[in-house]
Symmetry: C2
Subunit: 405 residues, 2 copies
């Protein structure tokens, strides 16, 4: 039974009951808010997934430790510095950030998870963070909280929605950041610069193991299916806190409905990342259907989503569909090219291994839309997957070539 | 025992004895030569590897068929059209190209392999190819042959070298093309737009199974280790013809020396591809050492070589070394980040998991050189691998966004 989702305009992580959030300027970034603190009421549960990179930033290692301790209900974050490749001193600084945040709000350090995003390889300016946390108050708006962890993001990305579950209202909020070094593949506890960070909140009551399982399922079809440059970060982290303040208990009976709500919030946040991708002029949605497994469909969808040739063609509004076939073919998934079909928006281009005649102007119009859709049918099974990306423009090169160490 | 290699200035595929080559203009490209034919003397042996893409162009399928027939000694190629995603008609056209070439030189069609490169999804203009082959004569220069299969290449890429093997001279020649859609991973007989094509020739006498094994080994550490955009093509093909005209028989005893010579030619050609990569301003060599397996080292080297963030940083001459750590970490190869060390040219940046102090101006100078070197030590074993790429510039976007269907 599909649930009816009501989007809450202008709201984010503090929309669900039982959350408070603070934001401050530490002066790590050249301007703007760059430290935030999110706190859930006592009794909250927590779940998280982290980058699967072999080079994991210090805050990822410390957060994974604290998560496994089992009582986390706060998150502290800074932007402007990733605290990655900073050796043992980096780990001490990440622990110290948790301690400072814990002191501020009357928790113990293991109750706090920590995230950092920004440049790799520089020591965290702990004095600035200490001062900012001392001055911070838990009265920020959802938008301020979302702004406080931005790096090269052009817009703050936050959202909230609610739905009736068993006759009672459950709310889910979220915020995320990241527009470059975006190709997340996060997994549980696999102890994990512009980096993907997502903070999710809900006032449902969910036991920690169930919360973890639901987060993993929601992340798979959202954040782990978005890419800007395929460059998986050392710091990617998604954290879900459940305050329980709505008194709605999530059980086997209603977890499907809750997952619909959580999944919708995560999906919209993931699309915001792709749309705000460095240099992006268009959001591109790639739907792959008819594979033997979901993993196959995801692999093909991300191969297309990461192809520089596909992405530059979209930027140039060129329906050069051979690049779609190329990117599907190189994915490393076995399929019969004679059963491959695909379309660009409303225009079928290729059917069962044969090219179709099409009107060039109509195809070009599909690429001029704000949202571009590429749909493939492999004819090998019933599984499907959707990925999101953006086009690849001069501006991406400018942002990343002129950003200086 | 290392052999002494003598490079033959200005020579290419016809440098070894027993080869003739012709080039002609069919009018498929807007200008220049676009059809070529390479013929080895009677008794020659042939080996080839093809793209591992699931979407294989018609000429790849037909060439693999002809190779397995066992008597190929000629190659016909056209530029300007990939004959890919062209359905059954495409396969008939590829066969027809072999027949036309075979008639011209008095062979049977299965003695001819065929390659095409250019735009995907358009029918081959067979009348133009037929006229060009009718007019073609086997008297082209090595440079003309190399020019005749260029697409977006700025320069023709060809080379030849000789060495003494058992007191007699063996010569190897080669030409290649491709500057975009470059991320080859070719394999034997796994039947395979700007596309990587390489034609290699030698006057050594090598039995076909040995020739195939040697080609595979040479390709692994050369063409299969070069990338421009990671976009493996539908048409990638490398073909090696051995005329036997030098009378030097390659056996178990001297195949190591022959492989040194063949490998050197393939490696120099692969570097030419990276240096001429679309929009490239620098050649980047990535050396990964200290992994448990060669496959691990290759995976990490190519992960760095394909990273948009690494490549844009090099274009911007920014020693933003965190991106090297990121790209190594995301490769999917398990390693202990606490044992990772790496350097940029002559400047050590990271040692055993800890950042090193370095002089920014000195590091920037490493990136201003024509050839940029990135060297990693994983500390996990004794295997190593080298990959080549180029930087990622505005010009890459321009070439691929403004190239129109």
């Amino acid at each position: 039974m599909a649930i009816e989702i009501e989007w809450l305009s202008g709201r984010g992580v503090a929309a669900p009951k039982g959350f408070r959030v603070g934001a401050a300027r530490a002066g790590i970034k050249t301007q703007g808010l760059d430290v935030a603190l999110l706190l859930a009421d006592e009794g909250a549960t927590c779940a998280a997934v982290f980058t699967t990179s072999q080079v994991k930033a210090a805050p990822v290692l410390v957060s994974a430790e604290h998560l496994s301790a089992g009582h986390a209900r706060a998150v502290v974050v800074n932007a402007g510095n990733a605290n990655c490749c900073t050796g043992e001193a980096g780990k001490q600084n990440a622990r110290r950030m948790c301690e400072l945040a814990a002191q501020k709000i009357g928790l113990t350090a293991p109750e706090v998870l920590v995230c950092s995003t920004g440049i790799i390889g520089h020591p965290l300016p702990m004095d600035k963070i200490e001062n900012a946390l001392a001055a911070l108050e838990l009265n920020a708006s959802d938008e301020e909280a979302a702004r406080a962890f931005m790096t090269t993001d052009l817009v703050p990305k936050f959202i909230a929605a609610r739905a009736e579950i068993g006759g009672q209202t459950v709310t889910v909020g979220g915020q995320c950041k990241g527009v470059g070094m975006i190709g997340p593949n996060m997994a549980p506890l696999s102890v994990p610069h512009a980096t993907m960070l997502a903070f999710l909140t809900t006032d449902a009551r969910v036991e920690a193991p169930r919360l973890q399982a639901l987060l993993e399922r929601a992340v798979a079809r959202s954040f782990n299916s978005v890419t800007v440059d395929g460059d998986m970060s050392t710091n990617d982290t998604a954290i879900l806190l459940a305050s329980g303040a709505s008194q709605v208990e999530i059980s086997d009976d209603n977890e499907g409905q809750f997952l619909d709500l959580l999944g919708a919030v995560c999906r919209e946040l993931a699309k915001k990342i792709a749309r705000d991708g460095e240099g992006a002029t268009r959001l591109v949605q790639i739907e792959v259907a008819g594979t033997a497994t979901e993993a196959d469909a995801r692999t093909i969808a991300l191969s297309i989503a990461n192809s520089p040739l596909v992405k530059t063609a979209i930027f140039g509004r060129d329906p050069n569909w051979g690049r779609i076939a190329m990117a599907a073919g190189k994915a490393g998934v076995a399929f019969d090219a004679a059963k491959l079909s695909f379309s660009l928006g409303e225009v079928p281009l290729f059917e069962n291994g044969e090219p179709l005649p099409f009107d060039l102007a109509t195809a070009e119009r599909q690429l001029a839309n704000e949202n571009v859709f590429i749909r493939l049918q492999l004819g090998e099974g019933d599984a499907d997957w959707t990925a999101w990306t953006c086009d690849f423009s001069y501006e991406y090169v400018k942002i990343n070539a002129e950003y200086h160490t």
